[in-house]
Symmetry: C2
Subunit: 441 residues, 2 copies
């Protein structure tokens, strides 16, 4: 069975899963945060299932939770993404490797260099998830007393993107001639000195590494605010979106791809992959019971902590059984806040109920049999709500085994997902063109 | 044969070797700068030979050479160290992995995190080569028009070291209790918030990763200036020194170890490993011919470029056949300059002769048979000129094969080098204690 559009599948990973209760689930590896052997096996499983990409979430601080929640959290201490994905590059062959790097607290020269290096080491499998850092605790780890405001963060992000991609283009693809006879290693006519001097950044260049295998590592973005959508339409090749309903997802899809068309970009050169929490069972009821069992492992303090983090406001002092009061806008990420407020209003939830959902997983979830989940994914794909999904498994290793052994074969049977990789690079998997070098033909 | 002191051996690597002519040598891999498969094999060869550590040199800019030399250089474009060593960690099991990270242009939170992560990924094999960046071209890549002066760089380096090690101590070794029953993942009584506010750096902490396997990754230092020696005596556990004569090496060894004793540190807790260029042959004459053949592949422009870089002054306009004029002190690294000036005066060299040596290798070299080289190394060890060596091979793969297949067995036969690893961490290999946590018993 052949289809013109197939799903693109990323795996959004934390070493013990993204669910705050997962480390207490039977069979879990609570120590996976610092145990490379486990993560290596997870990545190899995803590669055997032909996933497009392994995506590692990241934080730049510990203290983005109240202490009562922090002590229960396995998600805020873990490996650093560049080191982890580079190690995974050496023990995998095809799967894409997407690392988060913040434009708020990094130097673009380092970021450009590390992604270029990862792309060379992996043979063209690197992706850069561009984030601006909303966590005020992170600012304090980087010598800043105040977080930059939301708008300023995005202005810097855009300039940062221009500098990093400009550095990647420092050398033409054919610059390294390595002519043993004449002794010329690199043709300097094919090297460009960027000499960027902008409002936020000043970077001379050139980058001290050859142009990445993919030209540029794949550019990934996740913001859903107005400036986030605009940055995505201008620069992104993958968007990890967070819309939980098909209607909202279709509207987001149409909006971002419409912006691209107006900017003169081919809308097909951006893949929109909503985050999707996938729980599988032999029956829908069994899958729901599995989820309920997992959610019950989340302590109330953890739920309140997660909710406070998403809202950007500490709500632990509010009446647990009262409604969510009006929460002021803060400098925190706007997407998490908007999602939780909408959910509270739509379902008339108490703080306790909302905290339960925040600590569990409050976004898009497919909970059911391999066939029913595949049905849901097919609907989303065919109704242009997405180009695929960024899958989150509820537990490790069980939830991952379920996806790999049960869901993926069902998707393959329907022609919704590849049976093997057709190419070698992450761009090949995603069907994205290799960007031309802006300085050299 | 058992000896109380054995050699510690590091390998100081560039992907195509550190010699500027090496990429033109018969059998070389000129593309190894961007070919991970080659470097993986080199690291595995060194591990099979039981080397203590694989050490990756680094630069933070391309343009530290005049253009006429740059186009002939394979050494200034390559992999980035964190990504490369993390990838190597996944395909090796015992060898130490030492990365260079500059205190001049990095945030200490990132540096602490990446080394901690590499230490967890590798099972305790990470080492941090602390450098201050002398290259003015690097400053321009990080938004600074002027390089910090030499003294200020070292003041910042010391504060940076205190912050990074303080961040590594954020969690007690037993902080992560992961009690599934009670739902407590981490004991926050065993977490320390650094809250550093110093003249150069302001970093709150804690680090968002468990304490490294080794407590701290091994601290490596290479400067030989007065502040460099003092920093080493205060902080370093390995020094990559650069003294070329046994007399100078013995004086350096006594000086640094004496400073340690005065500071109350056990002098045995610092291993001094001079850089040593090793060329092997069936006879001394054959080894010398091999070296001459390699040196002849260095173009004059490359030699002048290397010399200019080491002196911190462009000498390409001077009379090639005249003597080296007085070169003013600059903000560049003092060790390279001092070495070249001393060499020029001691041997009455013309600029051309000095450039030939700078572009080739001007420091300590052991050129001979396995037996004669082992004799030399034994003399250095026994006369307290060193605790081992940081070996540089002239060519790859041939020069590495010679060291692994011919020199190492000779050293082992004499009881000068281990036949197998006794432990699993880099600290184990080097005989260094695991540092206590400064905040927790």
């Amino acid at each position: 069975m052949s289809r013109t559009r197939q799903l693109r599948l990323g795996a959004f990973m934390r070493p013990v899963s993204i669910h705050t209760g997962a480390w207490r689930y039977p069979g879990a590896y609570p120590d996976a945060n610092f145990n490379f052997a486990h993560i290596k096996r997870f990545a190899q499983r995803l590669e055997a299932a032909k996933f497009d990409a392994f995506f590692m979430a990241d934080h730049l601080a510990v203290l983005n939770l109240p202490m009562a929640a922090l002590k229960r959290s396995h998600t805020v201490t873990s490996f650093e993404p560049f080191t982890l994905l580079s190690a995974l590059a050496a023990v995998t062959e095809r799967i894409g490797l997407v690392a988060t790097a913040s434009t708020s607290f990094e130097a673009p020269y380092h970021v450009a260099r590390r992604f270029a290096s990862l792309d060379h080491i992996s043979g063209g499998r690197a992706g850069w998830n561009i984030v601006t850092t909303a966590n005020p605790d992170a600012a304090l780890n980087f010598g800043q007393d105040e977080q930059m405001d939301h708008g300023a963060r995005y202005v810097r992000a855009r300039e940062f993107f221009d500098v990093v991609t400009g550095l990647w283009d420092s050398f033409a693809d054919d610059a390294f001639v390595r002519d043993v006879e004449s002794g010329v290693y690199v043709d300097l006519e094919r090297m460009h000195v960027l000499d960027h001097r902008g409002p936020n950044l000043s970077v001379r260049g050139p980058l001290n590494i050859a142009r990445p295998v993919q030209g540029w590592p794949v550019v990934v973005q996740a913001g859903s605010s107005e400036p986030g959508r605009q940055l995505a339409a201008e620069t992104a090749e993958v968007v990890f979106s967070a819309e939980a309903s098909p209607e909202a997802a279709r509207a987001f899809y149409a909006d971002v791809k419409g912006r691209m068309a107006r900017l003169g970009r081919d809308p097909d050169h951006l893949k929109i992959l909503p985050a999707a929490f996938v729980v599988l069972g032999d029956s829908v009821a069994e899958a729901e019971a599995k989820r309920a069992r997992l959610d019950a492992l989340v302590h109330y303090d953890s739920g309140i902590g997660s909710l406070s983090g998403m809202l950007g406001t500490d709500v632990s002092g509010f009446d647990p059984d009262g409604p969510l009061p009006d929460i002021p806008e803060t400098n925190a990420s706007k997407s998490g806040r908007a999602r939780m407020v909408a959910l509270a209003r739509a379902e008339n939830l108490s703080i306790r109920q909302l905290a339960q959902k925040a600590g569990s997983y409050a976004g898009l979830a497919f909970v059911g049999t391999p066939a029913s989940v595949a049905d849901g994914m097919e609907d989303w794909l065919d109704s242009r709500a997405c180009d695929g999904f960024n899958i989150m498994v509820p537990t490790l290793p069980e939830g991952l085994d379920d996806v790999v052994d049960r869901l993926v074969p069902e998707l393959q049977r329907r022609g919704l997902f590849r049976r093997d990789y057709a190419g070698t690079t992450l761009r090949d998997h995603l069907g994205l063109p290799r960007p031309p070098n802006r300085f050299f033909a």
